[in-house]
Symmetry: C3
Subunit: 674 residues, 3 copies
């Protein structure tokens, strides 16, 4: 539960009353109540107004709006207002502005433009947070803290001299001696050997390729630097309001922060979801992000902190959400674990960079809009779903996702720039999504108990302890599935000596002699070694193939075309009570689906309903009840066989006995008693 006073799904959005006169606030209260809003995020970008100069605070507007919200029964997710410092602060201290790798020092004029290692910025921010928290700690509207905003969205890296000093301290803590840095980074290569700490700089502009371990550690350092900023605020708030939950909003597509590491410091995961409404967009991508966010919190319910009621303003072409699409995505969120559905933003700005980002109240300024009607309808529906809050999802399959692995693999020079980590993950996620098989996304140090299958595509980096953990998982009966370019390097991006796949050789029962990245006009074919009813006998492969040698494994498929001919393409190895698979090429989506179907069948994993293409199913469970969210993303009406059972439609309260018809773009939420 987010807060002891909120028993329903949180509903509301970012609210920026400082952009409006007080008469508009009064209208907002009425419209919020009309829409069923119970929760708003406040003061995210208010620093400049709250603090006119270094020694003066002015909480007039915030006092008023906090009181007004309270008197209208709306709770506040109060931001710490540190997302963007005032111009005067940017100017007053020379260390505030971040510097690019090319040495360009930034100027204020946008948002989030500060160096995370700036002492001046940190001092000012902690002063603000301490003052704000002290003032509102007992305010009855205050329900949760919202630290900063979308960390790393614009400033995920700085290369200034302060960062250089902090980086050296970070390295000293991590490596103790400069000799170990040399060893782990392999600085005997290219005459990069460091004799003193002070010789180490951020990986600034240089003439050739950079040291990959240096770059990797700098990414870790920058993620940690921003996390330090977060933790600094967290500790202040925790001390002043020990009982309140604290969050910061993650953002889809932020690849420069190690969210798994961050999540450990966050009470409730919340995130900002902006699926593209263009018809070519695949809702599986947003589903994956939900699963990832839920994974950060180890399965706990999260908050959808921002979504757009209609279009955004930052794509090249900002397609509008057609009627019903916002509702569909809202239920995708709830179905995948959200206990809160929030918008950016409540009232559309008239000025500034985001004025064409849609809002619940459009530029017309009133409630007479299609968009507001949809917001209101959703608000009323969500009130019927109090039973959902706190419920969780169950999955038999987990997919490993690891930021450090992505950072290491996606170094500027690599085996193939056609291969990206996120695509490799999604290529395996999508068939499971289409089969409506629930999946959890886990980190490399997550608890694997309860999973039957663990997928680890392109797990290039094998950190200390991971191989043992996976062996245990497999030995205990799990199926481990991994793919090409896995287990190549240690956590400093050093190749394991003795050949691939490093410490997973025993588990997989193979060695890999060579890897062969392929250009788009280089294709190959795989053929199954045994005939199988459900998997096509031969199938195209592309992008990459490995030269695999069998040690103990069995061959499931071989390359049957010119490229790699006769060599194993897919192998499996019995290991303890389980099985470890290796897929040494990029197979087609249909092959992956058939292959995973077969494994799921054997592991007794299946979908609760058989659903037509384009219809998504999500199950949440609590107190012995299942709640099925069926979402028709397809352009056809869906007819669903509920197989003689009877369920309750949560929105209408009616029982469903027969076939269920869900119109294109519509949803149904069924309560299933076990």
């Amino acid at each position: 539960m987010i807060n002891k006073n909120i028993h329903s799904i949180c509903y509301g959005g970012d609210y920026n009353p400082e952009q409006w006169t007080e008469d508009v606030w009064v209208q907002d209260m009425e419209l919020m109540k009309e829409a069923g809003v119970n929760f708003v995020s406040l003061a995210i970008f208010s620093w400049a107004l709250l603090q006119p100069d270094e020694n003066t605070f002015d909480f007039t507007f915030l006092d008023k709006i906090m009181d007004l919200l309270h008197s209208n029964g709306i709770y506040v997710d109060l931001a710490t207002a540190t997302a963007s410092q005032p111009p005067w602060l940017s100017i007053a201290y020379d260390d505030v502005m971040p510097v690019s790798a090319d040495g360009v020092k930034m100027t204020h004029g946008s948002r989030q433009t500060y160096c995370p290692n700036s002492r001046s910025w940190r001092n000012a921010a902690s002063h603000l947070v301490r003052t704000l928290a002290a003032r509102y700690k007992n305010h009855p509207a205050l329900a949760m803290w919202h630290i900063n905003n979308e960390y790393g969205c614009h400033t995920a890296e700085c290369y200034c001299d302060n960062c250089a000093v902090s980086f050296r301290k970070w390295l000293q803590k991590r490596y103790k001696s400069v000799g170990i840095v040399n060893e782990k980074w392999g600085t005997r290569f290219w005459s990069q050997y460091y004799y003193k700490w002070d010789e180490i700089y951020p990986p600034r502009a240089t003439m050739g390729k950079k040291n990959p371990s240096h770059v990797l550690d700098y990414k870790r350092f920058m993620s940690d630097s921003l996390l330090d900023c977060y933790s600094m605020e967290y500790e202040i708030l925790r001390q002043i309001t020990p009982e309140l939950k604290i969050t910061t909003n993650f953002l889809m597509g932020i690849d420069k922060l190690d969210y798994f590491k961050w999540a450990k410091e966050i009470d409730i995961i919340s995130w900002d979801s902006y699926p593209d409404p263009a018809p070519s967009y695949n809702p599986a991508l947003n589903a994956f992000d939900h699963d990832l966010m839920r994974g950060f919190g180890n399965g706990r319910p999260f908050i959808l902190m921002e979504q757009a009621p209609a279009q955004v303003n930052w794509r090249d072409i900002n397609v509008n959400k057609h009627p019903g699409l916002m509702r569909l995505y809202s239920y995708q969120a709830v179905g995948r674990g959200a206990d809160g559905v929030m918008f950016f933003q409540w009232r559309q700005s008239l000025r500034g960079a985001e004025k064409f980002h849609s809002a619940c109240i459009t530029h017309s300024g009133d409630g007479n809009s299609r968009i507001f009607r949809e917001v209101r309808q959703l608000g009323h529906e969500l009130k019927k779903l109090n039973c959902i809050t706190g419920s969780t999802r169950k999955a038999d399959i987990a997919i490993v996702f690891d930021y450090e692995n992505m950072w290491a693999f996606e170094y500027e020079d690599r085996q193939s720039k056609s291969v990206t980590y996120r695509d490799q993950i999604l290529n395996w996620y999508k068939p499971l999504y289409e089969m409506n098989i629930p999946v959890d996304i886990v980190g490399t140090d997550s608890n694997l108990k309860g999973y039957k299958i663990l997928l680890a595509p392109l797990l290039y980096m094998t950190k200390e302890g991971y191989a043992e953990k996976i062996k245990r998982f497999t030995a205990d009966g799990g199926e481990y599935i991994t793919t090409f370019s896995s287990s190549i390097v240690d956590e400093w991006d050093g190749v394991f000596p003795g050949g691939y796949p490093g410490p997973l050789k025993e588990l997989l029962g193979i060695t890999i002699e060579e890897f062969c990245p392929l250009t788009p006009d280089m294709k190959t074919t795989i053929a199954l070694t045994d005939i199988d009813d459900t998997i096509p006998e031969t199938s195209k492969a592309r992008l990459w193939y490995d030269i695999i040698h069998i040690v103990d494994a069995e061959i499931f498929a071989v390359f049957s075309d010119a490229l790699g001919k006769g060599y194993p393409a897919i192998t499996y190895n019995y290991f303890g009570k389980g099985k470890a698979w290796y897929i040494g090429t990029e197979t087609e989506p249909d092959f992956k689906k058939a292959f995973l179907s077969k494994i799921c069948l054997r592991q007794n994993i299946n979908s609760l309903f058989s659903l037509p293409e384009g219809v998504e199913l999500n199950i949440r469970e609590q107190n012995g009840k299942k709640y099925a969210f069926i979402l028709n993303f397809s352009i056809k009406n869906a007819s669903i066989d509920i197989m003689q059972n009877s369920y309750i439609d949560l929105l209408t309260g009616q029982k469903i006995h027969d076939r269920l018809i869900i119109e294109s773009g519509n949803i149904r939420i069924l309560e299933i008693s076990s």
Copy 2:
């Protein structure tokens, strides 16, 4: 008239004798006379030679060539030589070099590389201009002043500290208080609130999106800064030679200067036209630029100050002008209002960045070239057209073009980057061009008297007073045609509260609830509500559609396909004696042509002749006579029915009674007595 001594069309070009020895000058005089040259632009890039150091001037070469030109009967458009300062000046003063938004300080080595707000540069330039003007004020060859050269061609923006100071002064003058800046720029958004003037900087490199109003005002400020440079020179020249006309040459495609504002300070508009000779180029684009330039001068004749005799040197592929093409474009210029036809340049440079830009005298150095023969032929023809000078054009249709609107709309984040202002203007200009209907291009503060139709595509910004002016225009019987994304913001790029289309709601009789930018694979269809003989019943639409609600308007067409189905697509509203149209999508060119044809027919607007495709007609009028320039840009010969009338062919002096045959690439100029 440019000058009391020149009674014919000005003919000549940029002349850079400093690149040649004096024996070549003598050959030049002979060749100029052979070609009919009566006017040359001199000294544009001569500063470094004219002033060896800060305290020394050396006018030796200029004295000589001025005298030589005079003794050969050739008048001089004397440049102020400020287009590029000498290296010694760039080095002597630290404030001269411009600085990019990224903080890169430029170095001399090209041309036009100076900060427009550099005090040192301005001092040196005014010193030069004063000295030059004093020396030549009574020289008999001097016919006109040519200030600087193609302002903004390379340096249209600088972000240095001097510019920061000047920007603050500019803002203080415009806004009086920093509070008003905050209000107009919406700085309560993203914590950008300014407490002091000194907190405001140029929109330099920053980590996220910039404040659009800040960016817009900086564009205004930079255009004004360069205009200040121009005015500084203008005032010196005006004082020393009160009777002489003064120009500066505009350049096609310069989008960073508000030429409408500049034009008010210029005695004679002149411009540099460089249509691409590649076969895929549409001559309508150059025609539009001519109309735009004529519009800057409120219809007064202008000078084509530069065109290439053959190819240019700065395109990726510099196609040569095939025989006759230069002549065609020369008459397009005259037909559209030019009283001067000038080349860049007279004699082709042997060295430097532009040595492969064609010239009247080619690298062979003599007059034995196809290019020179064409220059000579044209020179002789133009001598027969003295009657044209001073004549003007008449148009019943005007199209609004507004630089500030372009700057505001084309902010880095907008509804759709697939929409650009110039394309939207051209999409409506081209059908009228193809129909040979004369069009004027007007600014938002131009006088609309006499126009029957006013087109305002994508007029996103509605400045103060504009709505009233348009209402008056329409009420008085005009037809106003505007399109999607119009009347969204005020002149500070703030959205009008209360919904779209802001202050034009009453005029148009509609409100617009939402806008829907479309990706290239999203198409829709419009269908007319009434059958019409001349306009296709249904037609494709793309790029964008609006959700329109009718208040008072009539529906002309609705969306008939999935996207927007049933909503109005095109509306019209009777307003006083006139009618106001709104086109809420991007229609096909054929639709636009049929639609405009119908409106023209009703307004009794038509072309003097019915001409085959690819044949352009231009009419100039004076003293009761019409002069028709018929240009065959097509690859076929054109047969034209002159409808029983008889005309005089101005070049041959013969009467034309019958059908007129104009060969592909040829032209005809007819005198029509009314």
Copy 3:
């Protein structure tokens, strides 16, 4: 001969033992011997290890490995270790780091990041080289010196203040007076006139186009600056070890160094060859590079200093070399003149930017790999080819290649960016490659004695003396073939006055009035003036056409399509005993092949064997014997008619009488006694 002790083909590679522990060194010795290695390049990137600080050297590891190699019979190509300075040096002296044209000062962290005009860097480097050479001058393993590494690969340009000072000195030496700089650079254009040396800067960031002569001279200056660095080391080594050969390794695709000028200072040419193993790659490209490198050394044998045993790490997609491909390319090298075949690198790095660059010993660390087996096989084969060392190639045809011409032509603004120099050269090289006609690549100052045909495609720049030389060549009976955009400028990029083709007018018997670059949708056709059995009567042409006027020449083909219709397209002029051709357009590959075939036939030039498509022939000769390397690059087996002769297969020692079958991917080396 590389060294008096090495009588066979040098075989080995870059060896970086500092990345490994000493037990690995021992394994390396065994594996090297197993593979037939006799030569390794050592210490290329060892500076940081060899010199812990400015006053301390530590040669411990190098002493040990030198001794170990010697005791295993392996000779050393000892690098001077200056390819990358240690971090401490980069930090200690402010002048070491290079600066970009935009003013970005680089930071250490990669390799080769130093300013070539840094006094501090040069001092430190010469100190190192002197110390190193003194220490190892008498070491029995030392066989050759390897200066630095791949000069210009990353840092071919610097724009710092030190470079500015050095540039002025370079100019003073070249031009004596600033007045001559002004004249040669044409600074009267665009007000760029210099009054003092100190006004001249490197061509740093500026707002418009730069002065092309300035840019050209800066390229010359930077190539010379790096050459100065090389020569500084060369002189030290020459003094200390007067008898040893000295090299530096060139790299394919380095366009910023004038290798013809450099080659004069190098004892043995060596180079690094990295053909793309992707199937779309044309082996003619690598063949051209071999011929170019051999040309640098005036035909002397060279060393293939680096090639990849399998894939590289720096392409977007690093395709693996399929089995046999490395061997094919190795014999292409030997066949085209290499007396050494070396790899980058011996043992694959586990860390650093190049860890995915293949090596002889893979990440498995042992000799159990396909790659090592191929390395070993090749090593054993090469031992049978001692007779090859020192042999040379003979060619009747030469193609001119000139770096300064490329730099001048490829200025940022030119007639057509679709035309590039290297492509124009390759377009004429490829048909000769396909016909297996040997070609030499020569510079503009090479000796032309013995050639029957000289091809000079796009020789835009004609340096002083070149025209006379070519006239002599032709007058003596040679055929000179040149193409469009040739002989346009002098060596300062100034256009020859009096029209094109400048000083070649008399030789070619034509003048060119205009040039017409074409867009991709502009095509034309040429037609032969006389019917010819072997050349198609008409043929497509594209990219460019010239307007040619005949003075004395004969017309071989005319333009027969709209573009250029009726004008000559190809001409020839009898000149003395020879003939000079001009090709005024870009013809199709098939036309070029037919055209060149005909000329070769007349000049009695032909291939020793008639070979199927995709089969490459190379002949080396020595002591009256010919050695034919036949390489089957095609995907089919080749059947070759050896025409009743009998040859010895050098690898098997067997006589070949009959048809010769060479499998796809295989090679044959035949000894042919004359």
